[in-house]
């Protein structure tokens, strides 16, 4: 149980760091774009891509924050069951493992979904019209 408490604290810390990264990277790029707009600087492909990467970073980190919150919830349910009836612990461990695995898979799917074209640098630029 003590170990689970430590894991829970570690997850909370990781979540807090990620929230700070989202905020700081957003602020940083907003300052850069405000400067460019104020000085009427033209945006080129590279700057446009850099600005859009921030959006992708935010989505990626938000997806892992969601996964962390889901894991914390599963750990909490397990801890509660364990406290109430230690004989249920074994069954609860199996359920916890399944939930953590499902959460991890969901987070991995989101990593791929929210990457846009950033992970395929050579992909041909294309807008699809229906």
């Amino acid at each position: 149980m003590l170990m689970l408490n430590s894991i829970d604290e570690l997850l909370t810390h990781i979540k807090d760091v990620q929230l700070d990264v989202i905020e700081l990277s957003g602020e940083s790029l907003m300052k850069m774009s405000s400067f460019m707009e104020k000085n009427s600087l033209e945006i080129d492909d590279d700057i446009s891509t850099a600005l859009q990467y921030q959006d992708i970073i935010t989505q990626q980190l938000s997806a892992t924050i969601e996964a962390i919150e889901s894991m914390q919830k599963s750990i909490d349910i397990f801890s509660h069951a364990y406290k109430n009836d230690e004989s249920l612990a074994e069954e609860s461990v199996v359920k916890l493992k399944a939930k953590l695995e499902a959460t991890l898979q969901d987070a991995k799917d989101k990593k791929s979904r929210f990457s846009g074209k950033s992970s395929e640098l050579n992909v041909e630029e294309e807008i699809e019209f229906f």
């Binding site: 907003m30 774009s33 959006d55 846009g116 807008i127 229906f130």
Partner: protein, 124 residues
């Protein structure tokens, strides 16, 4: 000038679209929340083109699109999805909801301009 509205919960994404479209002969309005844009549309705003993100809190791009199509004035307003999502099934869902097209982030500035020019039939 034609009115183009952009909806994206990311301020930096909106900043990049603002800078890209700054020199175009269009009026641009931007929203970080789809439900706010929808409320203005219901109150009488009639955009000529809507460019929206998909994954947004409170109201996502598909929910917005469904609600948009229920407003008589915007039943057929051209709408482009600008998103990190690349899944074909999501594109199909968008198409079924009457989307005009799908742009994957990060977008190329010249191609975004071309898409707007094409949909609004602006002089090239």
């Amino acid at each position: 000038m034609p009115l183009v509205i952009f909806i994206d919960d990311s301020e930096t994404a909106l900043a990049s679209t603002r800078m890209v479209t700054g020199s175009m002969p269009i009026e641009v309005k931007q929203y970080t929340e789809a439900q706010v844009a929808l409320a203005e549309i219901k109150a009488g705003m009639t955009p000529d083109l809507i460019i929206t993100d998909l994954n947004m809190p409170v109201m996502n791009g598909f929910e917005f699109l469904k609600a948009l199509r229920e407003v008589p004035a915007t039943k057929r307003t051209p709408t482009l999805m600008l998103t990190t999502e690349t899944k074909p099934e999501l594109k199909q869902q968008g198409k079924a909801l009457g989307l005009t097209g799908w742009i994957v982030k990060p977008f190329n500035p010249a191609q975004l301009k071309q898409a707007i020019t094409r949909v609004l039939r602006l002089p090239a």
